[in-house]
């Protein structure tokens, strides 16, 4: 590319951003943004996304939803924190497609996380409730594996799954890397639920997206720890109601932002 032209483009872009920052619809800015040499953080996630069906979360996630391919790490303080309601709308839309592949549940919930007695009395996915949330049960595959890592990697690698969900207490960092590569190879959206701890938060991770879910008084608080192309954010969602009623209004958002700052201070940034 012509060097002069290049600098010119940068120069004019800087001006344009300065003048038209308030109006992203400005045609001049739009023309500039089409420039191939221009790199923006958000444009890194050019790949398609699966909407979460929660407006506030969609807005905070790059591409407007869960990535269609890749590993999503969800750190939960305990089982039943609302984590499954978070991903259920996306799973439902994936399984309802005409040529849907499997939606694999690996080792549902295998380990006690923090509540020891869940292990004593194993939990079974309740089919009527899943169907009521729109999941196409014909595409659901459940595999009880202990340890789940091998089965999870097979499911991701095989290319037979649109989505795979696994529950693991501890995942080695190298295993996460393997899972991410397997998910890319099989073009699968992989969710891994793991226990939330300070150590787990500070660990580096190869996952495309990393969030924590904690139950709060009404619903759950979601902190985005890592995502490709979006800043950290915190969102409060009311998960036990219809998704449309999610609190995406200003007040909740402002509270969440303050919370996010506190979390950001406390947690050492992995990247």
């Amino acid at each position: 590319m012509d060097a002069y032209h290049h600098t010119d483009a940068w120069h004019s872009m800087g001006m344009a951003v300065a003048t038209a920052a308030q109006s992203p619809d400005d045609p001049r800015l739009a023309r500039l943004l089409e420039h191939p040499a221009l790199w923006r953080g958000r444009s890194a996630t050019r790949s398609s996304a699966v909407p979460t069906k929660f407006a506030a979360l969609d807005a905070a996630l790059p591409g407007g939803g869960w990535p269609q391919v890749g590993l999503v790490e969800i750190l939960i303080s305990r089982l039943g924190a609302g984590e499954l309601y978070l991903i259920l709308p996306a799973l439902a839309s994936l399984t309802q497609r005409l040529e849907a592949r499997w939606c694999a549940w690996i080792a549902p919930p295998p380990e006690p996380f923090t509540e020891r007695d869940h292990a004593r009395c194993p939990l079974e996915p309740f089919a009527p409730a899943l169907a009521a949330h729109g999941l196409n049960l014909a595409r659901v595959l459940i595999a009880r594996a202990d340890p789940p890592l091998w089965a999870f990697e097979q499911a991701l690698r095989s290319g037979a799954c649109d989505a795979a969900v696994a529950w693991m207490q501890r995942v080695p960092v190298r295993a996460l890397r393997r899972l991410q590569l397997a998910a890319e190879r099989g073009r699968t959206l992989a969710f891994v639920f793991r226990g939330l701890s300070t150590r787990a938060v500070s660990e580096p991770s190869a996952a495309v997206l990393r969030i924590t879910v904690q139950p709060v008084r009404e619903g759950a608080r979601i902190d985005i720890l890592k995502s490709r192309g979006s800043p950290r954010a915190a969102i409060c969602l009311s998960l036990h109601e219809e998704p449309d009623a999610a609190t995406a209004d200003g007040a909740a958002g402002r509270v969440a932002d303050r919370v996010a700052d506190r979390v950001a201070d406390r947690v050492a940034a992995p990247e």
Partner: protein, 553 residues
Amino acid sequence: MRARPQRTATGIAPRKRPAPQLVSRNAPRTEQRALPFLEPRELWIGAHLPQLALEALVEAHSAPEPHVPQRLAVAELQGSSQCVVAANDQAARAGVRAGMSLAAALALAPELVVLTRDPHREQALLERLARSALDFTPRVSLAQPDGLLLEIKGSLQLFGGATKLGAAFLKKCRTAGVHPKLALAPTPLAALAGARYTAWTAPRAGEAGLVRGGSRFKVTDESRLVGALAPLPLAVMRWPPQVLERLAKIGVRTIAEALRLPRAGFARRFGTETLTSLDRLTGRAPDLRRSFQAPERFRMRRGCTYDLEHHEAILEALAPLLESMEKFLEARQRGITDLECRLWHRHASPTRCVLRLAAPAAGGEQLQTLLGERLAAIALPEPVRSFELRSGRLVPRILRAESLWQAGEHGGGGASSQSVDLIEMLRARLGNDAVYGLAIHETHRPEAASRRVEAATAKPDVVRSTAAGWPAFRRPLWLLREPEPLTESNGMPQRRGPLRLIGEPERIETGWWEKEGSIARDYYQALDMRGVRLWVYRERSKPHRWFMQGVFG
């Protein structure tokens, strides 16, 4: 055409032209009359299984306590009422007969154990008998629904005559728990008719003495066939009931009487099929029977000159066997769903490694991968000396075209082979029960509403949202296998601290007509101290205990 004695239209051979006598060791020499002995072209053993309906069910039913004499009967719905199809000896002694209504049978024997007829098992038993009959002759054919035909002309020399062969076959049947009636005749239909007649006249338990002791139907001379058939009642032909009824009205009850009727008129009145079957009976028309083919299986054993200890080495040694199996299946365009690999050791009993596949497969490499997974989970007691590969039943393979798009691309590759491969891969390592799908069962009881099903067979059904009549968020996503009892304080449930009940209660009660697992509960959603939403209930009956049954995700 073969030269044969001229016959009249009625089928009675004239007593003329003595043909050169053919010598046979089976020829009945006792009653040599003017009739020449005609060596038949074929010799058929007809086996009639009068108690097939019972025998097919009994082997499974009476297995736990075989020595307890039970009155057993098999019933089937005929028209609008249940009819007894077969009864065992104990039941027959009480007067239960095939053909009587079930109500009448139960009135005669109130403690009668009634089984429901299962045609599939009857068919399976018949095929099993046919397979064992293949030991005697390659020409075995099934005579549906309860007969078997063996062409034994070529096997007489080997087995030392028809009597010995028949006895050997009978013995084999008895070990299988089946008691057939046999008859010998030059035509298949005559053999069957004879066998049915034998079964008919055999002394039955409870009525011995009324009927003369079992007659035997054995014809090895073609010229005597018509004479032997003559006294048989027409019912052995199994013609349609209306035909038999009309024949009875004009006074025709035996085969001889039917043979005496003019052919043209007989065909006009009772149909050409009836005449054809009469011709086949006497050997006038050819009777072609479809031979029974035993289902093929692959089985191959290979020994080693050295001990194999490592799984990789075993797998490598298995590769040629798998390759030849692939060729075997390829040539037949078939696949297998069951594969057993047996590993023999020097002292220890052989190790079995069974592979069950979700879909028919034939590829050697795929099977090798799966076998490798399964073998890795098996601990070998000793080094392997030799190994064997046994396939299950061959099933038709479903060949699919590959999708243009890769899986996941543009919505491509839905239920491709990969999805089946994944299930098999997981099953090979985790076991068959560990991989399953989910299905809804229509019931009010939450613990029975969700069922495990075979994942590969799950059909894409219509998505039913809140079909059960409750909002989606009223039910938990996780259900405990067993409800967990909760402690109580001041009438409120406790689980590591007090539970806060939220929302409206929901009452779930089963109807009074449902005796099994009847419940009467008031369900609540409850928040525990950590903000986890639980599904708890309080029993409506005393002592009103609290239980936790589910966790909202």
